[in-house]
C-alpha cells in the first residue's frame, strides 16, 4: 500500500509500523529500484558503522530544514534586512521573543534570562517547528527518530553540567555531587558521600534519557496514530460504511490532537531544560540568613 510505508521499529519482529510517507523517502524509493526506508544509501569510509539509510537521510534533511527556517528567521530579523520597527514581521518577532523571555524568566530569574534564553528559547522554537512538520503534507517530523531527540537532550545535559561547573566552581560542584554535610564525622562523610554520589550521578544521567524518550515517544506515536487513522479514513471512504465527508471530519480531530500535543511537548522539553539549568545556577544564600534573623 502506497500510503503506509514500513517504519523503523518492528523490523525485529517482522511487523511493519505504519508511518506517513514523506517527500525525501518517496524520491529515494522512486529513484532506487526495490528499496525500502532501511536500504543503506551510502557508507561513510566504507564501514558498516556509518551506514546511512534512506530514513536517516530524510530525518537529517527535515532537521536541517527546521534549523534553516528558524536560524534564517533570526538572522534575517537581526542582521540582513533593515526591518521597519512598526512592521508586522518586527512586531511578531518581538512578541515571540518577549513572550519567551517572560515565560522562562519566571524560572531563571531576570538576571540570568538573557544568558540562557538563546539555548532554551531556541530549543522551544526549533522543537515547535519540527513537531509541526508532522501536520504538513509529505513532511516528516525529525523528532520521530530517537537520535535527534537524544542529541538535543545531550546538549541540555552538557549545558547544565558546564553551567554548574563554571558558575559554582569545581569545589562546590564536587561537594554538591557528594552531598557534603560538615557536621558528620569523617568516616560517615566518606561513606554517605559515596552512596549519595552514585544516586546523584544516576539521576543526572537519567535526565537526558527521560527528556529524549518523552519527546520521542510522543512524536513517534503521534506519527503512527496519524498514519493508522489516515489509512482507516482512506479505507472507509470507498465503502458504504461512512459517507465521504465524514472521514475528513474524523481526521480533523486527530490533526487537532496532534497539534495540541506538539505544542505541549515542545513547552515541556524547554521548560524542563530551563528548570535543570536554573537548579544548577548558584543559589541565593542571603535570603535564608535574613529569614533566620527575622524569626
Amino acid at each position: 500500500m502506497f500510503i503506509l510505508v514500513g517504519g523503523e521499529g518492528g523490523e525485529a519482529a517482522g511487523v511493519h509500523v505504519p508511518e506517513l510517507p514523506d517527500l525525501v523517502t518517496l524520491l529515494f524509493l522512486r529513484a532506487l529500484p526495490d528499496a525500502s526506508p532501511e536500504t543503506v544509501v551510502f557508507k561513510l569510509f566504507g564501514s558498516d558503522l556509518f551506514a546511512y539509510t534512506v530514513k536517516d537521510i530524510s530525518t537529517v534533511f527535515y532537521f536541517t530544514l527546521a534549523l534553516v527556517i528558524v536560524l534564517g528567521w533570526a538572522v534575517v530579523f537581526s542582521r540582513l534586512v533593515r526591518v521597519k520597527p512598526g512592521s508586522r514581521f518586527a512586531i511578531f518577532t518581538e512578541w515571540v521573543v518577549d513572550g519567551l523571555r517572560r515565560f522562562f524568566g519566571e524560572i531563571l530569574g531576570a538576571k540570568e534570562v538573557d544568558r540562557y534564553i538563546g539555548l532554551v528559547g531556541g530549543l522551544f522554537v526549533v522543537i515547535l517547528f519540527m513537531n509541526f512538520f508532522e501536520l504538513v503534507v509529505l513532511m516528516k517530523p525529525p523528532s520521530s527518530v530517537w537520535g535527534i531527540n537524544f542529541g538535543m537532550a545531550l546538549v541540555v545535559f552538557f549545558a547544565t553540567e558546564i553551567t554548574e561547573l563554571v558558575r559554582n566552581g569545581p569545589k562546590k560542584y564536587f561537594l554538591h555531587l557528594v552531598g557534603y554535610d560538615p557536621s558528620l564525622p569523617l568516616v560517615m562523610t566518606v561513606l554517605l558521600g559515596a552512596l549519595f554520589a552514585i544516586i546523584h550521578l544516576m539521576e543526572k544521567l537519567m535526565r537526558p534519557v527521560s527528556l529524549s524518550l518523552r519527546l520521542f515517544g510522543n512524536i513517534f506515536s503521534k506519527d503512527v496514530l496519524l498514519a493508522v487513522f489516515g489509512g482507516l479514513v482512506v479505507g472507509t471512504v470507498g465503502t458504504g460504511l461512512l459517507p465521504k465527508f465524514m472521514g475528513v471530519f474524523l481526521y480533523f480531530f486527530f490533526i487537532f490532537l496532534a497539534a495540541l500535543l506538539s505544542v505541549i511537548q515542545a513547552v515541556i522539553f524547554s521548560l524542563l531544560s530551563t528548570l535543570y539549568i536554573a537548579l544548577s545556577l548558584p543559589h541565593e544564600e542571603h535570603a535564608h540568613e535574613e529569614a533566620g534573623h527575622a524569626a
Binding site: G10, A12, R214, G217, N218, F220, S221, V267, I268
Partner: protein
C-alpha cells in the same frame, strides 16, 4: 484464539498503564478546577501548569506504548 500471545501482552501492558495515568490526570484536573474556582483571576496560569503536568503524566503511558511499537 485469534489473538497472538505477544501482541496481547503489549496491549495488556498499555491498558494497565493507562489506568494509572488516567487516575493521575483526573486528580490533576480536580486540583486545577478547585484552584480555578478559588481564584478566577489566576485561571490562565493554572491552565498552563495543568497542561504541562498532563504532558508529564501522559509521557509515562507513551513509554509503554513505545515499547509496544518498537518490539
Amino acid at each position: 484464539m485469534g489473538i497472538p500471545a505477544e501482541g496481547a501482552g503489549y496491549a495488556l501492558g498499555v491498558g494497565l498503564s493507562v489506568i494509572g495515568s488516567g487516575i493521575g490526570i483526573g486528580l490533576l484536573g480536580m486540583g486545577a478546577m478547585q484552584a480555578m474556582g478559588r481564584q478566577p483571576e489566576a485561571i490562565g496560569r493554572i491552565q498552563t501548569a495543568m497542561l504541562i503536568g498532563a504532558g508529564f503524566i501522559e509521557a509515562l503511558t507513551l513509554y509503554v506504548l513505545l515499547i509496544a511499537f518498537v518490539k
